[in-house]
C-alpha cells in the first residue's frame, strides 16, 4: 500500500472516531439525497409527488437497519477491536489483583522517577524564559566574548537591526539593608530597555522603561521578584512606590514580577532584584572594552533568524567606527533563545548536562527493570492460559489478532502505572522544588507537569506497554498446538532457559550495573569528605564582609578591617584571626592566572599558572597551613615596603624545579607591574576550587601590597574549640563597624558546602535511584523463583515422597536462584566494566571507576539481597505436603 493511502485511511478512521456526529449527519444527508433522486425519477415517470414519495419510501425500507451496517464499516477492525480488547482484558486483570498491583506499582515507580528527571531536564534546558513571545528571542554573542561593552550595546541597540537588543549580567553584588543589618544580594543588572524588549510578566506596577532607567541618569529604581516581595516585604500590596536600601541608597520599587518567572539566565536562577545599569553600581561601566552585559535580542515579526542575523551583522559592521574595541564587533553568532544555549554561552554547563544525561539513562534502565517485572508476571499468566490461547488459535483466530489482545493487557498496566507514576511524581517534584542549594542567588527549580512532561509520559505509556507485554504475547502465541492442548499446564520439568529466566538474568545484570554506579557515587562522597583540603576545616569561622562599593577610601577600609581583626582576636576562645580576599573551596576561591614571568636564575620567561589570593598577616597559621620555609607575611609588608610573595609547594616543585625559592626574585606583571618581587616563604598545598582537583600551584600576595582593592574581604578566626560558638560574637563585633556593610558569618565547614555539593547531590540522587533499581529487580527475581518453584510442585512432591529432606528441597530451589542471580551478576560485572567508564568525569581524582572495593561491596550486597529474595519461595517449597499434591492429580 502506498503511504498516501495509509494517510487517507488513518484520516478517515480518526474522523469517524472523533467526529462521530458530523459523520452521522453526513450519512443522513446522503440517504436523503438518494430518496429525493428516487422521488424525482418517479415523478418524471408520471407519478404524483405524494404518490412518488410513498413509493420511494416503501422501496427504501427500514433505513435504521442498514444505517447500522454502514456504521460498522467505519469502525472496521482496529478501533472496534481495541475497545472490545480493553474491556475484555480489564475483566481478566481485575480478577488478578496481585498481578495488577505489583505491575502498576513497578511501572508507577519507574515512571515517577522518569518524569521527575525529565521535568528537571525540561526546566533546566528545554523551557524558554518567561517573556512575551519567547520564540522570537535570540542570543547574541561575538566569536570572542560572551559579553559586550556598554558602548557596543548602545550602538547595536540603536541600530534598529532587530526589534530590540537588551543586555543583562549577574556578576555583581549589592548590599541590601534588611532591618539594621546588610545582606548581600546578587542582582540582575540590566540595560534600560530590558523589560521593554523581553516583556517579562509583571504582577504589580511595571518594568522600568528605557527613558527613566538610562544608565546616564544614575537611575534609582528597582524591580523585585515575587519571592523577594513575599519574604522581604511580606507581600505588601502597596509595595510599588516604596523604597528599599541597596548599597546604602534608596531605590524605588517600580514593579513586582509575576510568580514562577523563569529567569533569562537559566539554571532556575531567580534574581531577587533587577536594577538598571549605572556607574554607581558598576564604576567601570563606560571604560573602553569593559565586558559589561550579555546580549539578548528580539527578532522583528517579519524577520526570520537568517534575516535577523544578516541585519545584525551589517549593523555591527556599520557601528564598528564608534566601537571602542573594533576588533570585537563580530556579533554574528545569533541563535534562537533556549536555556540550553544560554548556558552554553555563559560557560560550562557541560557537567550539569552530562549528569542529567546520566540520570536519564539510569531512570530509563529502572523503567526497563520495572517493565521486566511486569513482563515476567504476564509470561506466567499467559502460561496459565496456554490452553485457552491454543484453543483460540485452533479455532482460527489470527496470531496477530491474539497478540494485539494480549498487548492490550500491557496497555492497561502501562496506562494505570503511568497515571500512578505521574501522580507520584508530583510530590517528588515538589520535594525537588523545595531543595535549597548553597548558591549566592536563589535557585527556583520550577519543576511542574506541563505539555512537554505530559508528552513524555504518554511516550512512556507506549514504551512500557511494548516492553512489558510484547515479548510475553509473542511467546504465548508461538506455542505449537497439539502439546499445549494436551498439557494441563502442570508439567514436571520446566525448561532450563525460559524467557522468564532470561528476563530475571537481565534484571539482575542491569541492577548490578546501576548499583555499581550508585556505589561509585556514594564512595565518591565519602572520599570527598575524607579528602584533605590542606587546611583546617574543623576549627575555624569565616566572616564574609562586603563593603558598599564606593563608600570608603582604601585607607579607611583597611583601617576598618584592622579594627575588626582586633575585635575578633579579643573574643574569648579565638586563638588567631587573619584577613584574606578568598577562601579556598568557596565560590570566592581566589583568582586563577596564567602569565609569563621572569624568574631569578632562569634564562627564559616561564609560563606559570597559579591560583592567586591576597592575604594578611597570620593567614597561614590561622588556616592551619604549614609554613615550610621562610616566613609568614608581617604587618610591615605594606604598600611602602618591598614587594614580597609566598608560593606554595606545588609552585616550587613545578616552576622552580625544587630549587630553594626563598630570596629568589620574580617579576609578576600586571597588578604588581614589573616591580621585582621576592619570594619570602613557601607554604603547604591546599585544594582551591574542588576537592577532587589535581594540586594547583599558588601564589599569595600581601593584602596591603595589592593595587586593586577587593570589595569583599574575609576574616578567618581560629579557635581550639567548637567554631559554632564564635558565630554570634564575630557577627556582632563586625556588624558594629557599619550597618551598610553586609556580614555573613559561618563555620568553615558550612562555608565549604558549595565544594561538597556536586558529590553530595550525586550520592543522594544516584544512590537512591540505585536502591530503587535493586528493589524492583529483587521483586522480579522473587517472582521468577516463586513461579519456578510452583511449577515444580509435583516434582518436589515426588522427590519428597522418595525421601528428599526439606533441606534438599530448599537446595533445589535455591540452586535455581543461584544460577539466575549468578549469571546476571557475571553479565552485570562485565557490562559495568565497559559502561561505567564515562563516569570518571564525575569522580574525584584517585577514585577509579573500576574501584575493586566498590565492585566487591556491590556484588556481596546484591548476592545477599538475592538470596533473601529467593529464600521465601524456597522455604515455601520445602513446606508443601507431598501427599496432598500427588493426590490432587
Amino acid at each position: 500500500m502506498t503511504l498516501s493511502r495509509w494517510i487517507q485511511i488513518a484520516r478517515l478512521r480518526t474522523r469517524s472516531l472523533f467526529r462521530r456526529g458530523a459523520v452521522e449527519r453526513e450519512l443522513a444527508r446522503e440517504l436523503q439525497s438518494h430518496l429525493d433522486l428516487q422521488i424525482d425519477e418517479y415523478i418524471a415517470r408520471g407519478m404524483k409527488p405524494e404518490q412518488a414519495r410513498q413509493a420511494a419510501l416503501r422501496e427504501f425500507g427500514g433505513i435504521a437497519r442498514f444505517q447500522d451496517e454502514v456504521r460498522d464499516t467505519w469502525h472496521t477492525s482496529l478501533l472496534g477491536d481495541l475497545r472490545r480488547d480493553l474491556r475484555y482484558s480489564w475483566r481478566g486483570l481485575r480478577r488478578r489483583p496481585l498481578l495488577l498491583i505489583v505491575s502498576v506499582l513497578s511501572i508507577g515507580l519507574g515512571v515517577a522517577v522518569n518524569t521527575t528527571i525529565f521535568a528537571l531536564a525540561n526546566t533546566l534546558f528545554l523551557s524558554p524564559p518567561s517573556a512575551r513571545d519567547a520564540t522570537r528571542l535570540v542570543h547574541i554573542r561575538s566569536a570572542r566574548s560572551s559579553h559586550a561593552s556598554y558602548e557596543q550595546w548602545r550602538a547595536l541597540s540603536a541600530s534598529g537591526a532587530l526589534a530590540g537588543v537588551a543586555g543583562y549580567q549577574i556578576e555583581s553584588e549589592v548590599n541590601w539593608l534588611r532591618g539594621d543589618a546588610a545582606v548581600t544580594l546578587v542582582p540582575m543588572l540590566v540595560t534600560a530597555n530590558f523589560f521593554d524588549v523581553l516583556g517579562v510578566p509583571i504582577a504589580l506596577g511595571r518594568g522600568f522603561n528605557a527613558n527613566e532607567a538610562r544608565a546616564e541618569l544614575d537611575p534609582r529604581v528597582v524591580v523585585i521578584s515575587d519571592g523577594f516581595w513575599r519574604s522581604a516585604l511580606g507581600g505588601d500590596s502597596t509595595a510599588v512606590g516604596k523604597a528599599i536600601t541597596l548599597n546604602a541608597r534608596p531605590y524605588t520599587i517600580v514593579g513586582v514580577l509575576a510568580p514562577h518567572i523563569r529567569g533569562i539566565f537559566g539554571y532556575g536562577s531567580a534574581p531577587e532584584v533587577y536594577l538598571p545599569l549605572s556607574k554607581t553600581l558598576l564604576p567601570y561601566l563606560t571604560e573602553p572594552g569593559a565586558a559589561v552585559v550579555q546580549l539578548v535580542g528580539r527578532l522583528r515579526d517579519d524577520q526570520t533568524l537568517a534575516d535577523g542575523r544578516a541585519a545584525f551583522t551589517a549593523a555591527a559592521r556599520r557601528a564598528e567606527g564608534t566601537m571602542v574595541s573594533p576588533a570585537d564587533t563580530g556579533f554574528a553568532r545569533i541563535e534562537l533563545f533556549s536555556p540550553a544555549r544560554g548556558l552554553s554561552q555563559s560557560g560550562a554547563p557541560g557537567t550539569v548536562a552530562a549528569f542529567l544525561g546520566l540520570l536519564l539513562v539510569i531512570v530509563g534502565l529502572i523503567l526497563c527493570i520495572a517493565c521486566a517485572n511486569v513482563a515476567g508476571l504476564l509470561l506466567a499468566r499467559n502460561a496459565e492460559r496456554r490452553h485457552e490461547i491454543a484453543l483460540r488459535l485452533a479455532l482460527g483466530a489470527g496470531r496477530a489478532r491474539l497478540v494485539r489482545q494480549l498487548l492490550t493487557e500491557g496497555l492497561w498496566l502501562a496506562l494505570l502505572g503511568t497515571l500512578g507514576g505521574v501522580a507520584l511524581a508530583v510530590p517528588l517534584m515538589g520535594l525537588m522544588n523545595r531543595v535549597s542549594l548553597p548558591f549566592p542567588m536563589p535557585v527556583e527549580l520550577d519543576l511542574k507537569i506541563d505539555a512537554a512532561v505530559v508528552g513524555y509520559a504518554s511516550l512512556l505509556i507506549a514504551i512500557a506497554c511494548v516492553l512489558s507485554a510484547l515479548a510475553p504475547a509473542l511467546q504465548a502465541t508461538r506455542l505449537s498446538l497439539a502439546p499445549a492442548l494436551k498439557d494441563d499446564g502442570r508439567g514436571v520439568l520446566s525448561p532450563r532457559l525460559t524467557l522468564r529466566r532470561l528476563l530475571a538474568i537481565g534484571q539482575v545484570a542491569v541492577s548490578l550495573t546501576l548499583l555499581i554506579t550508585a556505589t561509585l557515587f556514594v564512595r565518591n562522597l565519602a572520599r570527598t569528605q575524607s579528602l584533605d583540603a590542606g587546611f583546617d576545616t574543623a576549627h575555624a569561622a569565616v566572616a564574609q564582609i562586603a563593603f558598599v562599593q564606593d563608600r570608603y577610601s582604601r585607607v579607611a577600609r583597611e583601617a576598618m578591617i584592622e579594627t575588626a581583626l582586633e575585635r575578633v582576636r579579643a573574643i574569648p576562645g579565638v586563638t588567631s584571626a587573619a584577613a584574606t580576599t578568598g577562601v579556598p573551596l568557596t565560590i570566592r576561591g581566589g583568582r586563577t592566572s596564567g602569565i609569563e614571568i621572569t624568574l631569578d636564575g632562569f634564562k627564559d620567561e616561564v609560563h606559570v599558572e597559579f591560583s592567586g589570593t591576597d592575604v594578611g598577616p597570620d593567614y597561614f597559621a590561622t588556616m592551619g597551613m604549614r609554613t615550610l620555609r621562610g616566613r609568614e607575611f608581617r604587618r610591615t609588608d605594606d604598600a611602602s615596603a618591598p614587594r614580597v610573595v609566598i608560593a606554595n609547594e606545588e609552585f616550587v616543585r613545578r616552576y622552580l624545579s625544587g630549587r630553594d625559592p626563598v630570596g629568589r626574585i620574580l617579576n609578576l606583571p600586571g597588578d604588581s607591574s614589573t616591580e621585582p618581587t621576592e619570594i619570602v616563604g613557601v607554604v603547604s598545598n591546599t585544594k582551591h576550587r574542588t576537592l577532587g582537583e589535581a594540586t594547583r600551584a599558588a601564589i599569595y600576595v600581601p593584602l596591603r601590597q595589592r593595587k586593586i582593592d577587593s570589595r569583599v574581604v574575609f576574616i578567618v578566626a581560629r579557635t581550639a574549640h567548637d567554631p559554632d560558638a564564635l558565630l554570634a560574637p564575630v557577627r556582632r563585633v563586625i556588624a558594629q563597624l557599619d550597618p551598610s556593610t553586609a556580614v555573613d558569618v559561618r563555620t568553615m565547614r558550612s562555608a565549604l558546602a558549595f565544594a561538597f555539593l556536586p558529590s553530595r547531590v550525586g550520592a543522594i540522587v544516584v544512590g537512591s535511584l540505585g536502591v530503587l533499581g535493586l528493589v524492583l529487580a529483587m521483586i522480579g527475581l522473587f517472582g521468577v523463583i516463586s513461579f519456578g518453584a510452583s511449577r515444580r510442585v509435583r516434582e518436589i512432591a515426588i522427590r519428597m515422597s522418595l525421601g528428599a529432606t526439606r533441606r534438599n528441597v530448599m537446595g533445589i530451589v535455591l540452586r535455581d536462584a543461584i544460577v539466575v542471580a549468578g549469571t546476571g551478576m557475571a553479565l552485570g560485572m562485565a557490562a559495568s566494566v565497559v559502561v561505567t567508564r564515562p563516569l570518571a568525569a564525575f569522580l574525584v581524582d584517585g577514585l577509579s571507576v573500576r574501584d575493586p572495593l566498590c565492585y566487591a561491596m556491590t556484588a556481596v550486597s546484591l548476592a545477599m539481597v538475592a538470596l533473601a529474595a529467593s529464600w521465601i519461595p524456597a522455604w515455601r517449597a520445602a513446606r508443601i505436603d507431598p501427599m496432598a499434591v500427588l493426590r490432587r492429580d
Binding site: 502506498t2 438518494h34 433522486l37 467505519w74
Partner: protein
C-alpha cells in the same frame, strides 16, 4: 455477509469500482447504472449499496465529495482513487480467471 439474492460481497465491490471507472457518480446513479447495464437482472438495494460504498471509502479505494446533480440536487459523488483503479484492474483479472475456470468446468465436466 451475503444476503439472499444479493451478490457475493466481493462482486458488488467490483461492480461499483467498474461503474465508477468512467466518471464520478453518486449512490443512486451507481445503483441505476448497474441495474440498466445488467438488463435489470442485478438489483442493488440501498441496504447493500451504502455499506459497500462506505467500506470502499474507508479502504481508500474510492473517495467522496459533495456536488450537484444535473437536476440541481445535492448528492455525494464517489470517484476512484489511484489505489481503487489498481484494485479494479487486479480484481477484474481475478474475476475473469475465475469465471473462465467455472465456465470450463460447466462445459466440460
Amino acid at each position: 455477509m451475503g444476503k439472499p439474492s444479493d451478490l457475493i460481497q466481493g462482486t458488488l465491490d467490483l461492480l461499483i469500482l467498474k461503474t465508477l471507472a468512467a466518471e464520478p457518480k453518486h449512490g443512486w446513479a451507481i445503483a441505476k447504472r448497474i441495474q440498466q447495464v445488467s438488463d435489470e437482472v442485478l438489483q442493488i438495494t440501498q441496504g447493500s449499496l451504502y455499506p459497500a460504498l462506505h467500506r470502499l471509502e474507508q479502504q481508500a479505494l474510492i473517495s467522496a465529495e459533495w456536488g450537484q446533480t444535473e437536476t440541481g440536487r445535492d448528492a455525494k459523488f464517489y470517484q476512484l482513487t489511484k489505489a481503487g483503479r489498481a484494485a479494479l484492474k487486479s480484481e477484474t483479472a481475478q474475476w475473469e480467471r475465475l469465471s473462465a475456470a467455472v465456465g470450463l468446468v460447466l462445459r466440460n465436466a
